[in-house]
């Protein structure tokens, strides 16, 4: 990793590139809140920001939001109708990008944010937070963008608890259940970037500077597919870093 940017900065800038101008983006808690702010002040001035707290806004928040109902998301917002309105729009199929995090992911992009172990044997189960809005977002968003830490326990053949639907058991699974959203489109981990192939399986398309296909595969417990044109991720430019650090000048999120 080059010395002039941090991993979080690389991840934020790379995620932002997944957002097209004018799209409705439903952002979950954590880094997604930084990504959307960055996108709005760079290439996506017409982006429409939704959060679970119910903020709907056309402009970047005046301050850095820590939570999805952080007051910074509401100050100078366009509408603050509540979770009722943003989740309703999601359920009507009006969200272009569902932007979530998670703790564990499998090759079909199914995500676990509930816990590890066997839920039906409570003494074996270590609870995380639960679904939060990730399940709703991933069910009904037109496409899903996920940001995740990567190691062999987090990139697994089968998630311990399927909290948030990816492609479930593969092609056709979502359609059979009537899900209105298209499923995972892109996963950005701490090591690289993934898309999904025609079998709806995760496929490495980019590795971060300082990583390699081999290192990434060593941090994945399933047999990871690799795109024929896999390449190194383009690092953030100086201009991008200046803008990003202006959003989080004290490094609250970026470190």
């Amino acid at each position: 990793m080059s010395a002039n940017y941090k991993l979080t900065e690389l991840m934020v800038v790379r995620c932002a590139k997944e957002i097209a101008d004018g799209e409705v983006v439903f952002a979950g808690v954590g880094l997604p809140l930084v990504v959307v702010g960055f996108a709005m002040v760079t290439h996506a001035p017409n982006m429409i920001l939704f959060t679970e707290g119910g903020s709907i806004r056309a402009t970047a928040p005046p301050g850095l939001a820590i939570t999805v109902d952080d007051p910074a998301l509401f100050a100078n917002g366009d509408a603050t109708f509540g979770m009722l309105a943003t989740m309703a729009a999601l359920q009507r199929g009006e969200v272009d990008v569902a932007f979530i995090g998670g703790a564990q992911i499998d090759k079909y992009g199914n995500i676990n944010s509930t816990g590890v172990g066997d839920w039906s044997k409570p003494d074996s189960f270590t609870y995380f937070a639960g679904s939060g809005g990730a399940n709703d977002m991933a069910t009904s968003g037109k496409r899903v963008l996920a940001i995740m830490p990567q190691d062999p326990k987090k990139f697994v053949e089968k998630v311990d608890y399927l909290t948030t639907p990816g492609y479930l058991d593969g092609p056709g699974s979502r359609e059979k259940l009537g899900m209105i959203g298209g499923g995972p489109s892109c996963v950005v981990s701490t090591m690289g970037v993934y898309r999904f192939d025609e079998n709806k399986e995760m496929m490495l398309v980019e590795y971060f500077p300082g990583q390699s296909v081999e290192k990434v595969k060593a941090n994945c417990s399933f047999d990871l597919k690799v795109a024929p044109d896999v390449k190194e991720t383009v690092p953030p430019t100086e201009d991008e870093l200046v803008i990003l650090r202006n959003i989080d000048p004290t490094g609250f999120y970026l470190g």
Binding site: V24, N46, G63, D70, D78, Q91, R92, I180, T250, F252
Partner: protein
């Protein structure tokens, strides 16, 4: 939908965004009825519209039906209350030109809520045991609660292609502002649309003003197709804080609604004969005097007195602040 200036004329808005055969959410309740939009739809001779609405009281739908614009209505209550009848609707139902699908008020509102929520149906307490259910099996049925087995009515979700509403204020981007209620049915009918909302408003303001108090936004800009500056756009219905209900005009209009041979005179004079809503209001002044409009002025002086600030917290303050600790944690 991009962040763009959506201002246009009434004529442009209706011409561009309402198609023959559309399902239209008809805004307002017993106030804020979109009368300027009603007149413009009639002027543009839109056909075969399907109307969804909860309740409406100043005969706007009566005019729309009389003009031959409507083939189906799904709603709970419609008449010109100030003459106690829906004359044109009555005639069109009798002749078979109009199909009507009745629900209770909260049945209709629940159908709009389901459409808004993006769910296919929703339970509602009313309607069961009545002729509403007997005659409107399209929109409602009784099922067994999947959890308890008890009987419960469910209504099908209603979603319009386009919504027409009148509001107090809207900004140039389409953020619709209301006060004096957090909503009756417009919030659901508008946000639940497939294509979006046409708004007429007493005032069009800059987004900065709306963003100073976004809790008052009823419809967020991304659902808005067209912003039309249209003072008196709800007349003869009322608009909160701007004007009251014009009862005498409702009664006058109602006398025309009553008689199908008289009604064309009203249509010709007040709708076809007026290029736009400003012309309609000018005609009103010309015919019934400025004092007619002056009588509609509200009793004002009911202003918010609470000191409100949408301030946020800057997490930048945590830089350099050490973790809090004590002897137990250290140990």
């Amino acid at each position: 939908m991009a962040v763009s200036d959506k201002r246009m004329t009434l004529k442009e808005a209706v011409s561009k965004f309402i198609n023959d055969g559309d399902t239209v959410y008809y805004g307002g309740f017993q106030i804020h009825v979109p009368m300027a939009l009603t007149h413009e739809i009639i002027r543009q001779k839109k056909k075969n519209l399907h109307i969804i609405n909860a309740s409406t009281d100043v005969g706007g739908l009566d005019l729309l039906v009389a003009a031959g614009c409507v083939s189906e209505m799904h709603l709970a209550w419609a008449m010109n209350w100030y003459v106690k009848a829906p004359y044109a609707i009555r005639r069109a139902f009798q002749s078979g030109e109009l199909q009507r699908f009745d629900l209770s008020n909260f049945g209709a509102t629940s159908a709009l809520i389901a459409g808004f929520l993006g769910i296919p149906f929703i339970p509602v307490r009313g309607n069961i045991g009545t002729d509403i259910l007997k005659y409107n099996q399209h929109d409602a049925k009784v099922i067994d609660d999947p959890f308890t087995g008890a009987k419960i009515t469910v209504v099908r979700a209603w979603r319009a292609d386009v919504a027409i509403i009148h509001a107090q204020r809207v900004d140039t981007l389409g953020n619709v502002v209301t006060w004096g209620t957090r909503g009756v049915t417009d919030e659901f009918g508008t946000m639940g649309t497939k294509r979006g909302v046409i708004v007429t408003a007493e005032e069009v303001v800059e987004p900065e003003l709306v963003r100073s108090d976004p809790d008052r936004t009823l419809v967020p800009y991304f659902k808005t197709l067209a912003v039309v500056h249209c003072p008196w756009g709800a007349h003869p219905s009322a608009c909160r804080g701007y004007y009251g209900l014009d009862i005498r005009f409702c009664q006058y209009q109602g006398k025309y609604e009553r008689n199908k041979d008289l009604l064309p005179h009203f249509m010709n004079e007040w709708i076809y004969g007026c290029e736009d809503h400003a012309a309609y209001i000018n005609k009103y002044i010309q015919k019934f005097g400025q004092e007619g409009l002056d009588r509609l002025k509200p009793v004002l002086g009911f202003k918010p007195k609470m000191d409100i600030d949408y301030g946020y917290h800057d997490p930048g303050v945590w830089k350099g602040v050490p973790q809090y600790t004590d002897e137990h944690i250290k140990a």
